[in-house]
Amino acid sequence: MATVIVDNREVELPEGVQLNCIQAAALAGVEIPHYCFHPGLSVVGSCRMCLVEIGKRDPQTGHITMFPKLQPACNTPAADGTVIVTQSEKVQQARAMVEEDLLLRHPIDCPICDKAGECRLQDYHFRYGQKERRAEILPFHSRRRDLGDVFLFVDRCVMCTRCVRFVREVAGTGELLVLARGAHEEIAVLPGYPLNNKLSGNVVDLCPVGALADKDFLYKQRVWFLRSHRSVCPHCAAGCSIWIDENQDHLWRIRPRENPHVNRWWICNDGRYGYHQVHDRRRLLGARRRTADGWEELDWAQAPLVVREALERAGRLAAVLSPFLTVEEAYLLALLVRRIDPEALLGLGPVPRMGQDERFPGGFTISAEKCPNRRGVEAVLSYFMKGRVLQFDELLGQLGPQGVRGLWITGGYKAPTPPVSHVLDQAIADRLEGLDLVIVQDLFPSPVAERAHYVLPGAAWAERDGAYVNCQDRLQSFRRAIRPPRGVLPEGWLLWQMHQRAGQFDAAAVLDEMAQQITYFAPAVYEIPEVGLDLKAGLLAATTAKTASELKG
């Protein structure tokens, strides 16, 4: 077992991965400040902030030899017997010098910089910088340049080149480059080739200072007003882990959350800027029911009872489980419909697809399937339908032959952006003619909602509790980040009330119940870790058990 000594503490290195000294020190709980190093990018060792004293312990004699000069921790692999000293006076002096040098040419316009509050230059200055200012530095106005998808504040840059390496190594597009030399170095793009790729938003998160600014977030909020919530991106089947940054029930920013099994450190721009539809003005608000002469408002307090009675009156039922529902909501809906009509038909909602899966050189993938939870809903469906998963078209085709009178459609689809119409379009609405009862639970108005007898506004993903299963069978649960707007009751809450369960909607309790009922969700009996839970492992165990019993039989 390889052992590293960090500030007189011995730490054992994990097997099978090559760590550098920054990562090894982090294992010991020691932070080595750094700007240019990022675990997802190549190492350049250009910022010199991570200089530490490094030595080697002789395995035989135990004698320690220290190198005479300071070494960059990012560029030094941690091996057995590596000695790292991070708190000596020499190291502290070196850090203070780097900070002083960076601040010589820095505009110090922190009051108007969006990064202030989460800026490494600020944090490191307070932690490692000099107390006394030797140069006469006055704040000045930073030049701003449009790079395409983001703004560059030229003078705030500390030339860590993280962004340049990102577009070369992860996005593979390589729009950014370093112009000029020495103190005149600048990040730039070539004329006619702006920064314009599907991962470009990540350079803003990567930037350790405020040099790269998000055009969407620019001057919208100060970061210390924001509260971050763990969540899962709903915009494609990859299911990236994200942070939702919110202030007073308004989403302001989506950031990637590190997850080695799904998205590593990145998210795509669709996920980053797709949150705007949560605050779209066209959203359905207020439950309503069709009467002889138009629409009638339905009180949410009575809705569970009224809708349940309508379902019971309809008799033969069918339900469309949208791939935007969380697994808990899908389960509760299927259970409810089956309680009222034990023969009820259950099918999968339309699955929006767009083009092909997009793979990037860094391994990041954007799925062509533009919904978060097809796998999870399919698992629920196959449990209730004895292994069959009815696709949306099949379900619509069977409505007549099976004598279905009532249909519950769940949505959650994207806002219609002309010329692209809502997924639940006129053609689908026409096929619903003749049904006694159509209940639509959706985010946005659609031809199908126009045709419905009951319209129940649904919640956006940030307003729900639950779990999604991504295309690689990884279950990730999340809590709501904001409250839904007035007139909206999240699907789970409504279904919970319609089941007449006590108290408030408890997604964890439903998932527990599912884990006991459905083999696919069996691993979810344990606590769901922040990086999600691989359900394939559970499947494997189940099939092994089945094969074993078959062999015995």
Binding site: P111, L138, R144, L218, Y219, K220, R222, F225
Partner: protein
């Protein structure tokens, strides 16, 4: 520290002698004070016909104003530090990229709820560009609550009214100190 600590000196109420117990000398002393104020200079101000003399306008905390820069533009850079420090949460700012080439960020809207404000003056202290200041205007009236929510224009107009009487207080950047002065200070 314990009550029986030898370092602690406990004071006792002075005992009244027989002069105190008959109350007459104390009564005469009190009467003397009353009479002195009866014939002395008058301190009461007949407000609102007469105005208060404000002894130190710099530290007085009245209605806010938003200062203008040399070109007459709002001086505020929309850094939200006043809104952050405000204990009453009465400042609401909407920031935007500025329309001027030499400045990057400016407040698109800036409102202060003067009824919610507790006039603590923290906003003035937090401001990095001396853009928000508390003036000596103290008699603030309005006919409705909405009227008392001051927007950017109104706050700038307070500046226009008061700029001659109360110039912007320049605390920063500090005036350049020569080496000789610095040495003199050290000595």
């Amino acid at each position: 520290m314990q009550p029986n600590d030898p370092q602690v000196r406990w004071l006792k109420e002075p005992e009244l002698g027989w002069t105190g117990k008959v109350y007459l000398p104390l009564f005469v002393e009190g009467m003397r004070t009353t009479l002195r104020h009866l014939v002395g200079p008058k301190l009461t101000v007949q407000s609102p016909e007469e105005r208060h003399e404000i002894p130190e306008p710099l530290i007085y905390r009245g209605v806010h104003r938003l200062n203008r820069d040399e070109q007459g533009r709002v001086k505020c850079v929309a850094c939200f530090l006043c809104a952050t420090i405000c204990p009453a949460h009465c400042i609401d700012i909407v920031a935007a990229p500025s329309p001027w080439p030499d400045r990057d960020k400016y407040p698109e809207s800036f409102t202060i709820d003067e009824l919610r404000c507790i006039y603590c003056g923290m906003c003035e202290e937090a401001c990095p560009v001396q853009a928000i200041e508390l003036t000596t205007l103290y008699d603030l009236t309005g006919k409705s609550r909405e009227e008392m929510i001051f927007d950017k224009e109104k706050l700038l107009s307070v500046y226009d009214q008061t700029k001659d009487a109360e110039p912007i207080f320049q605390s920063w950047p500090l005036p350049a100190v020569s080496a000789e002065q610095e040495n003199a200070q050290k000595k």
